[in-house]
Amino acid sequence: MDEQYISDADGQRTYIFTPEQLSEIEAVLAEDLLDVGVHSVTLIDMAGNIISTMDNGDNKHDLYSLAALAAGNFGAVSTMASLIGEEEFSLLFHKGNKENIHFSKVTDEFLLITIFGREVSLGFLRLKVAEATEKLVIILKPGS
């Protein structure tokens, strides 16, 4: 297996994640987010594919559908932002009765979806997501 990270096949971009990269991503998701009490966290690409997902064992969400909808939602919101002259909206968050969902752009190609309950405040979550994002950017960097 070619260990390259990104390849161009007939003009297509393919992302290849090595076991080491995925282990590093899982460690960040677990230590920075699951350990502070979020229910589940999923790293996806903007096409709606799942790169990595971690949860606290209590979640039975349909993550593939969630990823597809999150990518579509993020794309739609980004387009809305540009229509009103904003580069992007800094906070993408939906509040529910028991579960909340937070979206955060990691790079232009990747998005972090975090599902959390009342026990974690939005401010604290944003702080932890920002910390995790910094680490993920390094791991996801081509050639890392």
Partner: protein, 201 residues
């Protein structure tokens, strides 16, 4: 943008059904959902208008087994066909790995097919992808309607209008009744996975 996970030995790939409004894109996915229920672990996701037209997209993840030791997971999407949803179609195409162009065989829809194919080429170009290079299969849908005496475009005309330059594989199909729906899907999956072959060796 396909994802290859070397840890789980899994490939995820995105295939989009594109074409003019009311051409049968959603009906294709509905047929696949019914026919391959055992390979689909979730409900089909649809975002529709009150008038039952696709508003954003339909989504259906399907597992097709192993190729070269990798579990292959295909994400099937449709775009909304109505002309006014151009920006939405562009969003759904993000990261696409393979396309099924569902052309409407009705004689009165000839122009709409051509315009939709042009929009596909333009939208792919916005992601720096070429319609000449991406895996592509044509499906000439609604062929069953000829039995009802409804005027249809001859396949030769459809080929001339849409596929004379691209020379992609095509199927005459009926998304409603099923003929060649699975074959269309199998062909685009094979072509898409084949385009990744150098990454799976």
């Amino acid at each position: 943008m396909a994802i290859i996970n070397l840890k789980k030995k899994e490939v995820q790939s995105k295939i989009v059904y594109y074409g003019p409004g009311r051409g049968g894109k959603t009906t294709n996915l509905e047929y696949v959902y019914k026919k391959f229920r055992s390979r689909i672990q979730t409900e089909m996701v649809t975002i529709k208008t009150h008038g039952d037209r696709t508003l954003f997209f339909d989504f259906l993840p399907i597992q097709i087994g192993r190729i070269r030791g990798y579990d292959i997971r295909i994400q099937l999407y449709t775009v909304p066909g109505q002309v006014k949803y151009e920006s939405t179609r562009r969003l759904v195409l993000r990261g696409v790995d393979g396309i099924v162009f569902v052309a409407d065989s009705l004689a009165v829809r000839r122009k709409e097919n051509v315009l939709s194919l042009k929009s596909l080429a333009d939208n792919l170009a916005s992601y720096k992808k070429s319609i000449l290079e991406i895996p592509l299969v044509f499906q000439y849908n609604k062929r069953d309607l000829t039995d009802d005496g409804i005027p249809l475009l001859p396949v030769e005309w459809l080929e001339q209008d849409l596929n004379s330059e691209l020379k992609a594989p095509y199927f005459e199909a009926s998304a409603l009744k099923g003929p060649n729906v699975a074959q269309t899907m199998k062909k685009i999956i094979l072509m898409t996975i084949d385009s990744l072959r150098k990454d799976l060796t």
